[in-house]
Amino acid sequence: MFPLSSTMELTQATTLGLALVIGLGFGFFLEKAGFGSTRKLAAVFYFYDMAVVKVMFTAIVTAMAGIFILSSAGALDFAELYIEPSNYPAAIIGGIVFGVGFIVGGYCPGTSLAAAATGKIDGWVFIAGIFIGSYAYAEFLSGFDTWLAASARPDVTLPSLTGIPMGWFVLLFIGFLALAGWGMSLAEKKFAGLRP
């Protein structure tokens, strides 16, 4: 039955309309979580407000559990889902560069959009930066990109790597979220004095 993209013939207009609707929900919850505020985002790195990590982990666990339950029940064909091919060096280098940009600029791409949508000028400037960065990458690093595409391995997931079924990882992540939630509430108390 799911994903609809492989079981139904969707017109381009329908597909793009659905993208818009999913985007509406994405932006709505990002903003409601406080991700449109650069200081709320930066706070996570100084431990006095861990909301960003709480939101991210809860979202991951929710979607993961839903995907697991629906695919176990036969309603979702997991093999039809797009899994970005893995390339560890690129993930590490890109992650480090991205992390530096995140703390220096105070946003990531999705959150800068939420900031811009609520009038933050620094959000608009960050968006201009992403655009310049994307453009520069296409201009100067296209050789690297070709290597990247050629050397990435498709469908590398923890279950496929370890042979342990997805359900165990879902339980592990739920347990980890509970433990991390407790740890984060302790950290927030300990670092409360850092709040500017």
Binding site: F45, Y46, G94, I121
Partner: protein
Amino acid sequence: MSSMTAANAPAGTATKRVPAPYWNPYLAGFGLGLVLLAAYLIAGRGLGATGAFSSVAAWLANLISPEHAQASAVHARYLESGSPATAWLVWLLAGSFIGAGVSGYMAGRTSLTIERGPSITDNQRLVLALVGGIIAGVGAKIARGCTSGQALTGAAVLNAGSLVFMGAVFVAGYAVAWLFARKEWL
């Protein structure tokens, strides 16, 4: 809207009201997770924020010089998948912008401001936002995704590369935050 705040507000900011508090993070995260799940169920793939920028960048490069755009494998890849006007990620991003705008407006959080740490100036903040945006843009392209397209989307299906990416983002973020960026934010 509270009349008390309107009365207390300085001249020129009469339309400002006390912003509603952010949602409980676990509740907001649950909502975000359902949106991510919906994206997988409907489109067979998760969310993404950076791809739309590349799509527009390729379109712009092609507008300036088609030969030049084709010379870049990255531009060519995005051009192949068509105009930004019909790109899934561009519509997703447009929706996100509207969704965040509506949420912020309803909560009284919309105002033309520069948000920054207390120890830097507005101009310093804008320079850092631009530089950080450029760095994050390049990083997201190297990693083939950002916090949305890799971290959230990939982690939900236990994509190993995405989990490695997420780890690297946080390690670098925490290191720079404590070694170099304390003056920027605290």
